[in-house]
Structure formats: structure tokens, C-alpha cells
Amino acid sequence: MAEEKKAEEKKLFKVTIDNITVDVEPGTTILHAARMVGGDVTPPAMCYYSKLKGSGGKCRTCLVEVAAGSTADPRPMPKLVASCRTTVMDGMIVKNITSERVLEARAGVVELLLINHPLDCPICDQAGECHLQDLSYEHGKEGTRYEFKRRTFTPHNLGEYIQLHMTRCILCYRCVYTANQLTNKREHGILDRGDHAEIATYIEKALDNEFIGNVIDVCPVGALTDKTFRFKNRVWFTKPMDAHRDCPTCSGQVQLWMRGDEVYRVTARKDEWGEVKDTTEGKPGWICNDCRFHKKSVKDWVIEGPTQVNRHSVISQGHYVNTVTPKETLPEVMGGRAPKLLMNIHKVSDVNRPEIQLSKIEGPAHSDDFKPPTP
């Protein structure tokens, strides 16, 4: 009874995003409301990170149009707003993929994020799990109008664990917030300003705080990568496995990136937005350097099983068991009309066959494994 009463008292706000209405708690951001809806309605977020206080507002990829501020004041907002830093009002109407203005501005942001990007995906360890790749694929335009030399920097050595490629950095500040919030003394930061701003330690210094490895997980691009995994494998050849160990420093709940019996890389577990998941105890699942860099043997870990992978992820190309299909929102956005599928890649491709679960194949997959069954 008391519980029921409480639920009644808590007034929820109704917010409509791309024609889909959800009830959310006051104080929720537009981005979070959109994540509750899921699917294509969710704006891409390159700098916001829900586990990092103060993050967001910078990259401008999550811009949306507010067509009506609230029921009480239904005026539209004149400018596009950063959905990650704008809280909803009751009766707010938001347009994301149904707004031409948003799509144009977003394509603009993607173009600008890419003009100085080296596009060195073929030699970048982040390729395959890079948010900038996904963003460009989904919201960018083919070709570039930029005809100048791309920006370069004097390389800085951040020590034995973390590899910095400043040319790939999108200055999302996530690594700065991470160091501020997870370590007792931040040793790197952003020097200089404008398009010559860079991540550095000022005086050449190794980053060696026991939790600093998490900057690799929060970095949306290949600017900060794991030196112990450098050039060892492509992520889509490895199999993500949930595993844990009894760790005196952190929760010890991690994701192993394995090939056969070899552990190639250890990372924190991530959710479908690419953010570190909560541990079973409900705390953010940051992991310590020891788990991440030094426990590279299966003997170190209790393996729980294959990680759930979102079908949109390149990693899912391995067709792991536990693949989750993201919610399709397009018919709802389009007022009930279903988008016309021009081609179903699973039907026409011999290779991309969802019924084959690569994680069940011993060792590296071979083209023979994809041969259509002989009738």
C-alpha cells in the first residue's frame, strides 16, 4: 500500500521523441529518455559518459531539436540543444531523426570531426569498436571537402601501459574526467586551446595510477589504446567473454578478449552505449591496472561465458551466442509505416549467416565453416 502511494506521488514527465512517447522521472536528460526508447531514436553521444560527472556538451553530435519546450510553455527552443545536457520538461516534444535541421547539423559535426582525423583505421587498434567509425558510418557523408594537411602533434609517451595517438583524439575530455574522478591525482590534461589543443602530461611523465587504465575504456576513439594489446589482434577476430577474479583492488569483473585459449586483452564490461557497466554490486565497473594489464592467462580468471553483444556491433560479426537484437523503432517513428528493406544481407551473403555461432567454433573461423549446407 505505502509503496503504491509513493509511486503515485512521484509525478513522471511525458516526453515525446520522434513521435514516441515515454514517461521519465523529472531531472532525466533528453538523451537518457531517448536511450529508454532505444533504437534509431537515440542520438549518438561521443563525449557524454553517464558514469563521469560533468561530461558531455562538447562534441555536439547529440544535438536535437526541441519542437515544444513543455505543456506549460510549448514554445520551441530556437537553437538545437545538446540532448546529453538538457533535462526534459513535462510535455516536451523532441525531434531527432525526424528533424532535417538535426540531421544536417549532425552531418556537419561528423564532417568537422573527421577533417583532421588521420583515417588510419587499417592500423588502429580501436577499429571495429570505434565510436567515430560508427558515427561516420551512420551520420557522415562519403568523401571529404577538406583539402589541407591534417593536423599532427609531437608524440608523447604516457608510459608502458597506455598508447596515445593524439591525431585521433576528438577532445571529448572523458579521459580527463576519468583521471579526475578515479585517481587521487590527475597527471594528464588538455594543454593549449582550439584546434591545437592536445592531451599531454606537460612534463613527459608516465601515467601509472592503479586505475588510470580506465581511460582506455572511456576513449571513444583510438587515441588511448592498450599498449599490452597493441597490434596483437583485430577486435573482431577475438571473442569477448565475461570473466571474473578475486581482486583486492577492484571488482575483478571484466571482459576477456580471447582467441582460442589465449587472452589477448582485458577490458571493463560495457553496455550497449559503450559505457562501463555496473558491477553485480551496482557500482560502476571500473577495473584496476593489475586486472587489465597483467592478468593475461585463462588461469587467472573464472570464465562465465560469452558476452552479450549488440547485433549492430562489428564484434557481432562473429555471431556469438547471446547476441542481442536492438529494438527497431523506425516503424513507430514513421507512424506505423515499416521501412522498405532493400536487401537482407543475411539472405544474400554466404558468409554473414546468423545461425552460425562463431563462438562455438574451435579456434579461428575458416571459410569452410560458412559453406551453405549441401541440400
Binding site: K58, R85, E111, L112, L171, R193, G194
Partner: protein, 450 residues
């Protein structure tokens, strides 16, 4: 003949000293406010005066003050924005350098109105010699009982501190200024929350321009209603204009906002016309961020009416055919000036000054600068002009702070009004390196001094 409220006494011998300033009637407003008025009554006078922020945006100051949150037990702060880094703007420097006590007086009265017991002046790093002048004025005011504890026996305590910036234009943006004042990297904050609710150290804060705060002195002395009678419409009081470029008498002028742009440029009381018999080509009327206007749209509006030196008239026609009062940095270009080079120079500035937090401004300013450099040096392509237009559109309105807009507007306005000059540069790569495009249609109507 115009009224002078701020600079009238600026050239009295020895006015920098407390004694002379006081003898000339200084600090009367502090006595009046602290002894006979309540803080809210002071705010009320500022509201009545119609004073608008002199830092660029022109927001009504009294209204801004009334937004200040006043939670129990939380200190509030007044911060004076003396970062003045907008190219073409140097009015605050003049005021602080020549009549520093006027600012200190305005700060005391304003601090009283807002309940700020610790007030800060954040001053541009390059104004290296001015903090000493201000600190001396503060010390003198304190010695004479106008600062410190229990000012004039009113029970009001106030200290003023001078903080130097390190030379970043972005630290003039009020939330970047607050970050810098707190000792952090000068990145603008994401709003809301606004400074009126969470400013310095998360306390309610008002940030005002030097000139705005100095104007509080005459407002209290003469009363808000009297002050509002000076000027025209919503452009009340006097405004400091720093005039520079191709004029005979560059400098800082105090105008009441009823004079025409034509009078301001050509009369001997102000800029004194354009040197060497050259003709007027264009003008950036409110500091580098505001749209440039060709001569034909500067002296008269698109409707053919006389354009005046005030907020409304300068903005008449919107961005299509108008500009903005901005911070009052009035830059004149004569027929020998190249709009492409000018635009490139401004783009270089904005690229250098972007804080780099948000992608459109960080990347877009650099790209625009590179393209403009190409066009300026005869390496441009015709498609570059449309590309520039497209880039500025991608920046404008999509950034955290208005620096993005400030970088986009000059480029947009230059292309909007001077497209033929850009095209001429592209079509005549060699010739454009040896001579300027000249005037074309912009000087129409051609001004003939009477």
C-alpha cells in the same frame, strides 16, 4: 554637443588620485546609495535607467541583477569583466587607465545592490600596467573608508580584488572567466546553470562589463529616470565607442546614442573623416564579431533611413542588411582595404582563440582560416566561397558559447556583402596580389563632405 557622463572628468589633472577624484564630486553615489537607499532601491534605479550591458550582448542590466539568486547563507559575488580582448575594442582600457576611481565607485555601489562582499575585477593579461592603477585606487578608497569593513558606517563590508588573466579572448566569456577566476582552464561552462544561480565557486554571481558598472555611478547620482532621458528608445545613456581604422582621429569617444553614423565618422568632434581624401568602403561597427557592413548599408539602412549609433538602428535590417552595436569597437575600412584579407585576419584570430571544447568551433575555425588564406594568397577556388558559407553555417548556433557565432558571423557577412570581391580574388590570383579590388558598388551613395 553630446553629454558626457563617464569621461567628463577623465582629463582633469591628477584625477587618478583619490583626492582629486573626490574633489571633483567622486564617490557621491556611494554616499547616496549606502546612506539613503536600500540595495533593492539601487537595483530599481538601474532598472529604471534602461542601462544595457556594455560588454556586447546589450542585455538589460537591472533585469540581470534581479535574476541573481539569493539563497540564505550563501555568499554572492559581483565580477567585473575587464577582459576586453575583442579586436577593435579598447574602451574599458581607457576608462580604467584614466579614471580608475569611477570603476571602483561603480563597483562599490553595485556590490552593495547585489550583496557582494568580495568583488572581483578580472582583467586581461595584456593590460599589464593597469592592475597597478586599479590596486592603487582600491587602496586609496579603502584608506578613505569607501571599502573594507562597515563602509561609511552603513554596516556594509566589501573588498575588491584584481585578478589578472593570462591573455585569452575566451576568458571574456562570462563562464570561462569564472572558471579562470577559480584557477581552472578557461573553458566556457555549459549552461544552464547560469552564473546568476551558480557562478564563482558555485555561488550566485553577476558578471558585468567595466563600462556597465561605471555607468551605475551617474545613474545613482542623477536617478534612473533622468538617465533614461538621455539617448533614444531602448538605447539609454551614453556609450563609449573605441574608433579605429582609416579615420583621422582614432580614439575613445563617449556618445549619447542619438548621433548618426555619418556624423560619428565625418564630424570633427568624433572620428574626423577618412584620411588622405579616401572614400569609405566598409565598417565593422561593434567589434570584430559583428557583421561587417558596406558603406551603402552603413550610413543608411536598407529602407533608406539614416542609421544612428545605437542598439536598434545599427541592428536594423537584421543580419541581412544590418549589424550590431556589440562592444562598441568601431572599425573603419577605406577604399584601399581588402575585405578578403580582413576576413582572413579575423578568422585567424578566432581560430587562435577558440577554447577547443566543442567540435564545430574547434575544427570549423581552423578550416575557415585555411580556406581564407588560400583565397587571400591567390590559391582559392570558386567552390571555396560556397564551402566557407557552408562551414560557417555548421558552426553558428551549434556551439557551447557564442565564440562560435562570433567566428561565423564575420565570414558570413563578408561573403554576403562582398561576394564579388571574393570572386575577383579567385579569378585574378595574380592581380589580387598586387592591388586591391577597390570600391565597386559599395560606396554608393558616395559621401561628399559638405
Amino acid at each position: 554637443m553630446s553629454v558626457k557622463l563617464l569621461l567628463e572628468k577623465a582629463h582633469v589633472e591628477g584625477i587618478r588620485s583619490f583626492d582629486v577624484y573626490r574633489r571633483e564630486g567622486g564617490y557621491r553615489s556611494v554616499e547616496k546609495a549606502l546612506k539613503t537607499m536600500s540595495p533593492d532601491a539601487v537595483t530599481e534605479e538601474v532598472k529604471k535607467s534602461g542601462l544595457r550591458g556594455r560588454g556586447g550582448a546589450g542585455f538589460p542590466s537591472g533585469l540581470k541583477w534581479s535574476f541573481l539568486a539569493k539563497p540564505e547563507g550563501v555568499p554572492r559575488h559581483l565580477v567585473c569583466n575587464a577582459d576586453e580582448s575583442e579586436p577593435g575594442t579598447f574602451k574599458d582600457r581607457y576608462l580604467m587607465e584614466f579614471i580608475p576611481h569611477l570603476l571602483i565607485e561603480g563597483l562599490i555601489v553595485s556590490s552593495f545592490a547585489l550583496g557582494s562582499h568580495a568583488t572581483y575585477i578580472y582583467i586581461r593579461g595584456e593590460y599589464a600596467w593597469i592592475p597597478d592603477i586599479l590596486e592603487q585606487a582600491i587602496a586609496e578608497a579603502k584608506n578613505n573608508g569607501f571599502l573594507g569593513k562597515n563602509i561609511l558606517g552603513s554596516g556594509f563590508d566589501c573588498e575588491i580584488y584584481v585578478q589578472r588573466g593570462a591573455g585569452a579572448y575566451i576568458c571574456g566569456e562570462e563562464t570561462a572567466l569564472i572558471e579562470s577566476l577559480e584557477g581552472k582552464r578557461g573553458n566556457p561552462r555549459i549552461k544552464p546553470p547560469f552564473p546568476a544561480v551558480k557562478g564563482v565557486w558555485d555561488r550566485p554571481t553577476v558578471v558585468n562589463n567595466v563600462e556597465t558598472l561605471a555607468a551605475v555611478v551617474p545613474i545613482i547620482n542623477m536617478g534612473g529616470e533622468e538617465y533614461a532621458k538621455i539617448g533614444v528608445g531602448k538605447s539609454t545613456g551614453t556609450k563609449l565607442i573605441s574608433a579605429c581604422g582609416n579615420i583621422n582621429k582614432p580614439g575613445v569617444y563617449e556618445i549619447d546614442m542619438t548621433i548618426s553614423v555619418e556624423e560619428f565618422i565625418y564630424s570633427d568632434e568624433y572620428c574626423g573623416g577618412i584620411p588622405n581624401g579616401k572614400r569609405l568602403k566598409a565598417c565593422i561597427p561593434g567589434g570584430s564579431s559583428v557583421p561587417i557592413l558596406p558603406a551603402n548599408l552603413l550610413l543608411k539602412t536598407a529602407k533608406g533611413e539614416t542609421r544612428y549609433m545605437n542598439y536598434e538602428s545599427l541592428a536594423d535590417g537584421g543580419f541581412a542588411t544590418g549589424s550590431m552595436m556589440g562592444s562598441g569597437g568601431f572599425i573603419i575600412l577605406d577604399e584601399d582595404q581588402c575585405v578578403v584579407k580582413n576576413t582572413y585576419t579575423l578568422a585567424r584570430f578566432y581560430r587562435h582563440e577558440s577554447c577547443g571544447q566543442c567540435s564545430p568551433c574547434r575544427e570549423g575555425t581552423g578550416w575557415m582560416e585555411k580556406i581564407l588564406k588560400n583565397i587571400d594568397t591567390g590559391k582559392g577556388k570558386m567552390s571555396d566561397i560556397d564551402l566557407l558559407w557552408d562551414i560557417q553555417r555548421k558552426i553558428e548556433g551549434n556551439t557551447i558559447c557564442p565564440l562560435g557565432d562570433a567566428a561565423a558571423w564575420p565570414v558570413a557577412a563578408a561573403i554576403r556583402h562582398f561576394r564579388d570581391e571574393f570572386e575577383w580574388h579567385v579569378n585574378n590570383p595574380q592581380e589580387s596580389q598586387t592591388r586591391n579590388f577597390g570600391l565597386a558598388h559599395y560606396a554608393d551613395p558616395i559621401y561628399v563632405p559638405a
